[in-house]
Symmetry: C2
Subunit: 244 residues, 2 copies
């Protein structure tokens, strides 16, 4: 049980991926933040069908956002990384439409939902950022739809690996040419609409090709340019975004 991180000392917000905060915004954040929550591996941050009294920003750790379908199948909607906002939908629309499950231990900043309105009335800049965050999320989902709709298995896997890689690099989580990769192949396949078996075959193929490799919960990309090419992604960097 470590002490709660003061927003002033927050290591995340200074990463190049995020839009810098003004002094004023920072002051507001400090008041807005109600505390921290620690979730163990496998724990649920949000549960489909249940309301939540809070909004969260991931301070550290990773998670998976998924929906459970009637027939028991699972679709992973997105992977969740430090800096991501969780609970906007349930915050604005009532109950959560998906489940968010921690795949590592996760530490969350907690923002009370009943004060979101304050944010809109007294901090339009932050409100704007909130909308911006939602728009960024929407954009990613659009790309995901395009991937599931149009790309074949190899392209999909390459796409997912590149996306995860880029995000973690932008967060400065790369060491020795590898980034953490706490997801199971099952998570990947549920995200990409493939069977685990086939996903595995593709991963093995990419490894043999010398493109990328998943080893001991870490991901190494050996030929970034070629992998991007396979994925159908250009090599440009991710846009910056605000962080709450």
């Amino acid at each position: 049980m470590t002490a709660v991180t003061d927003c002033l000392d927050c290591p995340l917000r200074r990463r190049p991926l995020f839009v810098p905060m003004t002094e004023d915004e920072l002051a507001f954040q400090r008041r807005f933040k109600a505390g921290e929550l620690q979730i163990p591996i496998g724990g649920e941050i949000l549960t489909q069908g249940q309301g939540s009294g809070s909004l969260f920003t991931v301070l550290s750790g990773m998670a998976v956002r998924s929906v459970l379908m009637e027939d028991g199948r699972r679709q992973v909607i997105s992977f969740v990384f430090p800096g991501d906002l969780i609970g906007l939908q349930s915050g604005l629309m009532g109950e959560a439409r998906h489940t968010v499950t921690a795949v590592t231990e996760v530490v969350l900043c907690v923002f009370p939902r009943n004060r979101v309105w304050d944010l809109f009335t007294s901090h339009p800049g932050r409100a704007y950022d909130l909308t911006w965050i939602a728009a960024v999320e929407e954009h990613f989902l659009g790309e995901t739809v395009a991937t599931l709709g149009q790309r074949d298995a190899t392209q999909r896997v390459a796409w997912a690996l590149v996306r995860i890689w880029r995000r973690l690099v932008a967060l400065r989580m790369e060491t020795d040419g590898t980034v953490p990769f706490p997801f199971r192949q099952q998570d990947l396949s549920d995200a990409l609409g493939l069977s685990v078996v086939h996903t595995n075959r593709v991963i093995v193929a990419l490894r043999r090709e010398g493109l990328a490799e998943i080893l001991g919960r870490r991901l190494a990309i050996h030929d970034y340019a070629r992998l991007c090419n396979v994925a159908g992604l250009d090599m440009e960097k991710d846009d910056v975004r605000p962080i709450l």
Copy 2:
């Protein structure tokens, strides 16, 4: 060339699908609305890669939101109906990430982008609604991802038909048990990640089963309950949402 609709007389905002506006909001909308734009069939409301100086709300007509991929394939991200907001992403993130193409003649309310900020500073309620709209959109895309990832061809087509049906019914556009259906089978297949050929086979099968039928640019659902069942959707109504 008919006269511009005054927000006061706007037929859309009173539909049960939308959250009613307060007097105050209505007054603001009237000032915010810069005019109308009429787009012919096949015209582009927004073009991928280009910025746009405006936000739009669809007043009438339908469109298709799509991304063009490197290899020339097309993914339809969503279908666009009256009441939908267009251009939030390009408004907040710079350039449009997708193209919106009119499939009928479309009339748009135009909101100048440079006044969006006013909305955040002086009308927090509207700003909140804007975020809400973004969250709703995100939710739909999540469902789309789940559909493309987990459902087979028949379920996908059924899902799309039910979604379109529900939306148009909520907009009161049903007559004689049918709703307008201006989309080509190509649009459907591009939305569902199927080939036109296979999409057609499924549509024919659904028709033979007496579940649903597309005839002369109109969609008839003959067995709503069963179709929902095939689609893997429960029969509950859509949530209400704000309209800009």
